[in-house]
Symmetry: C2
Subunit: 513 residues, 2 copies
Amino acid sequence: MAQIRHALNTTRADDFAAWYQDVISSAEMAEESGVRGCMVIRPWGYGIWERMQRLLDDRIKATGHSNAYFPIFIPLSNFEREAEHVEGFAKEMAVVTHHRLIAGKDGGLVPDPEAKLEEPLVVRPTSETIIGDAMARWVQSWRDLPLKLNQWANVVRWEMRTRMFLRTSEFLWQEGHTAHADEAEAKDHTLTMLEVYRAFADEDLALAVIPGEKPENERFPGAVETWSIEAMMQDGKALQAGTSHYLGTNFAEASGIKYQNKDGGESLCHTTSWGVSTRMVGGVIMTHGDDDGLRLPPKIAPQQVVILPMLRDKPDDEALIDYCEALRATLASQHVLGEPLRVLLDTRPGKAAAKRWDYVRKGAPIIIEVGGRDMENGVVSLLRRDRLWNEENGKPAFQTPTREIAGQTVPDILADMQSSLLTEAQERREANITRGVTDFAEVEKFFSAARYPGWVEVQWSKPTGAELEEVVERLKALKLTMRNVPIGAAPVDGECIFTGKPATERVLLAKAY
Amino acid sequence: MAQIRHALNTTRADDFAAWYQDVISSAEMAEESGVRGCMVIRPWGYGIWERMQRLLDDRIKATGHSNAYFPIFIPLSNFEREAEHVEGFAKEMAVVTHHRLIAGKDGGLVPDPEAKLEEPLVVRPTSETIIGDAMARWVQSWRDLPLKLNQWANVVRWEMRTRMFLRTSEFLWQEGHTAHADEAEAKDHTLTMLEVYRAFADEDLALAVIPGEKPENERFPGAVETWSIEAMMQDGKALQAGTSHYLGTNFAEASGIKYQNKDGGESLCHTTSWGVSTRMVGGVIMTHGDDDGLRLPPKIAPQQVVILPMLRDKPDDEALIDYCEALRATLASQHVLGEPLRVLLDTRPGKAAAKRWDYVRKGAPIIIEVGGRDMENGVVSLLRRDRLWNEENGKPAFQTPTREIAGQTVPDILADMQSSLLTEAQERREANITRGVTDFAEVEKFFSAARYPGWVEVQWSKPTGAELEEVVERLKALKLTMRNVPIGAAPVDGECIFTGKPATERVLLAKAY
C-alpha cells in the first residue's frame, strides 16, 4: 500500500474541529462575515442549501402544505403570552429599538433618540407567536382545518459561541406550522412531518438518522411533545438534524386559535411546528467529508459532474472544448435520481490538475478530465469522489472509459454513489451504537475511554421532576445528553439504568453538537 | 348588452386604491400583520412570488450568476464608508441595539441594559456594503473576475406610509451584485441585467415595461448610472418595477475591492447591483386585475387550472370525482409554456359555485366545473378568466367542450392567455403615452384634466445642478416625476421643454407609485 497525499492540511483523526473548518474554507462553502456570529454562505455552500430546499420543499408540498411569509419583526407583547416560550428565547434575542440614524457628536451615526420605537421589536427566533396571530384570523370553522403552512426564512438567536452552519446567530431554515381540530390529528401530523424529515435526511442527504421522541427536558419551549431526527457524526457525536413539535393547545390559547366545531360549539385548535435549518449542511460535512474535503450525495451536489478540459492556451484547445462539450450535452440531456443531470464544463483559465483538487475538496461527485491524448483515443479520465484513491499506488483512481460509455454510465455511477453513501453512514452508525449497557459505571467508562465513542443505548423509567433533573446532572458531568427515545427500539427488558425502577423505554445517550 | 354583476365590491373606476386593497384581500394574497409596516403574504400571494422567483432565478443563473447569502445585520461603520449611500438610507433603518431581554419593573420584558451592543447593527436595507466586504476578500486577480453574485433575501426600509406589496417596511427581493475589471464591462453588464428584467417582466409577467435610464436625481444612493423598467398601471401611474445600477468604483473604493491586473498592477473593480422585489406583485395586480379580481398570466399562476366537481354529499360524488381526476391526470401530464402544467382538483367541502367565485377573484386562469349532467354528457364547463363574461346575457361565458377536447386544448388556451395579456398591456400602454408635447403648459393641462392621464413623453436638454433641481420642483408641483429616458426612443428634434435649450434626449413624465 502506497502513501496517499490527501488534499486537506488537517485530518479528521488529528483534529476533528479543525478539519471541519478546513473542509468549509477549502470547499469555499462559507466564511466569517465580520458581523458577530453571522456567516457568509458562499456560492458552493449556498448551492447545497438550494438543493436541500428544493428537495425538502417538494416533500413538504406533497404533504399538503403551502408556503407563506410572515414578518421578521415580532412585538415583545406577542412573546409574553406564552410563558415557557419567552423564557426559552429571551436570553438570545436581537432587539430593534430605533428606526432612524442621525449624525452623532463625533460625526458618526447613532440611533436617533427621536425615532425610538414605543414597543421594541424582536427579530424572530422562531415564528409560533406571529403565525399564531394569523391562524387566529384565518381559522373560523372546522371547514378551515387542518391549516398547513410552511415558511422559508432567516431567524436570529444571539449565540455567544458560534460555529459555522452548526450554530450561528442568524441562520436559514424552514418552519412548518399547522392547526388541527383535535389532539389525535395534530399528534399524527407531528409524526408525519418527522417521517418527512427522516426520508429527506436518509434518501436525499444520506445521513442515516434515528427518529425518536425527545425526553421532557429537551423539549422546545412551549411544546407538549418534541420529536427529533438524530444523526451520528464521524467523531461519534450526535447532531439533532430536525425537530417536530406537538404544541397541544398552548399556542392556540396564547393567540386565540379557535374554531366553530361541527356541533356549533367553540373549540381550541391543536397546533404543531417543525423545522430544519442550514445546520443540516454541517451534518452533511461531518457525515460524508473525508481527509480530501467534502463528499456530497449526488442529489444535493450543486454540480454532479464537472468536466475539465486540459487547456494549453494553444489553437487545438478549441477541438478539445468541442470534444468535452459533446459529452456535456449528452449528460445534460439525461435524468438521474428523478431530475435532470447537473453538469458543468469548466473552461475558466487555470490548470486542470489544480482545478481537479478544488473540485475534490468541494465534493463534486464525478470529475472528468480530458487531455489531448484522451481525445485522440476517444476516451476520458473519470474520477469518482467516493473512490478517489488507488490504494496500491497512492494515486487518484482514474477510470478511462470511452466518451460514449462515460455518457451512458455516469447516471448509474451517481445513483450508486447516492445509495452507497447512505449504506456507509448506516453501517458506521450501527457499528458505533453500543446497546445493552445496564450499569451506569459502564457508561462512564465508555465515554471517558474512547476518543470517538459513538452512542450508548440504555433503558430507563422516564423519570420526571427532581428525579429527571438528577439524571440530567449526572449526564452533564460526563458532557452527555439524552438524544431521543428511538421509534421502533427493541422492547424493554430490565431496570432503569438511572433509578433502578422497571424500565419503560430505551433512550440514546451521546455527546452532541 | 346585459348588466354584469362583478365579483368585487369596488371597481377600478370608482376608487382605484380601494379596488387594489379589495383585490388583495378577496384573493387572499396578503394582509396587515399587526406589526407596523409589515405584511403577511398569504399562500396564494406567496405562491405567485414563488413562481416569479423560479422564473427570474433561472434567468439570473442563465446569465452566469450564483446565489449566495450574506448577513442580515450590517455594522453602522460599513455604511459610513460611502457618503451618498448612508445619506440615502439613514432615515429609514431599523436599528438593533440589544441582544437580550429581561423582566422590567412592571413584569413585562425590556431590553437588557447589560446586553447593549457596542456598535449598533442595522437590518439591511440593501447589501452593497456587506457584499462589498466579501468581494474585497474574494477578488485577488483578474482571473477572479467577473464575480457575479445574487441573493434572495428580506430587507427592511422603515416606511411611514405603507401599501401592501408596493411599499412595506420589510419586503422580499433579489439583489444582484457583480464586480468587473473595467468600466465598459460593468456598464455592459448593467444593461444585460436590465434586459433580463425586461424579458422577465414582459415574457413572464406580461407587464409591457419600458426600459431606460433614470435621470440623475432619481439615481440609487451611490450609483453612477441607474436604469429602470417602468410599467404603466391601469390608473395611468407608473410603477418602477426593477432597477439596475452601474456603481462605478464608488463601492469598490469604500470596501477595497481591488485586483491584480494583467500587467501586474493593482486596479479597482467596477461594480453593479440590481434588484427586483415583491413590489412586482403589486404591478401584476394593477396591470392585469379587473372588477372581478385578479387575473394572472399563466406562467406565474400558482395553479393554472382548477377543477371543481359539483359535489352533493351523495354516493354518486365518487363517480364525479373519478371523472374529474381523469381530466386532472391528463392535464398534469402535459407541458405548457416550458413547464409541467399546474392543475388542482379541489374536493374540499363547500359549494362549487362559491368556490368558482373564489378562484375568479384569485385569478386562476382556467376554472373547470363539472356537474352530474356534464359527466353524463361527457363534457365539462370551462371558464377562461380573461374572457369571463358573455356580454349579451351578463352571465359567465362557460364553454362546454368534451372532456377529451378540454384535455387537449387547455395548454393552447393558457399559452394564448399568456400572450394576449401582454398584448393588452402593450396596447393600453401605447394608447396612454402622449408624445410630441412641446409646451410645458400643455403638460400642466394634461395632468390636471384627466383622471387617469397616462404618461407624457417630452424632450429635454438633460440639465444638471440647480437647473435640474428647478425641473424637479416644477414637476413636483404637479405631483409628477421623470420616470426614465427610454432606450430606443425616437431621435430628438427641437427644444428642451424645460430650458428651451436644444434637446438631447426624450424623457417620460408620469405620476408614480
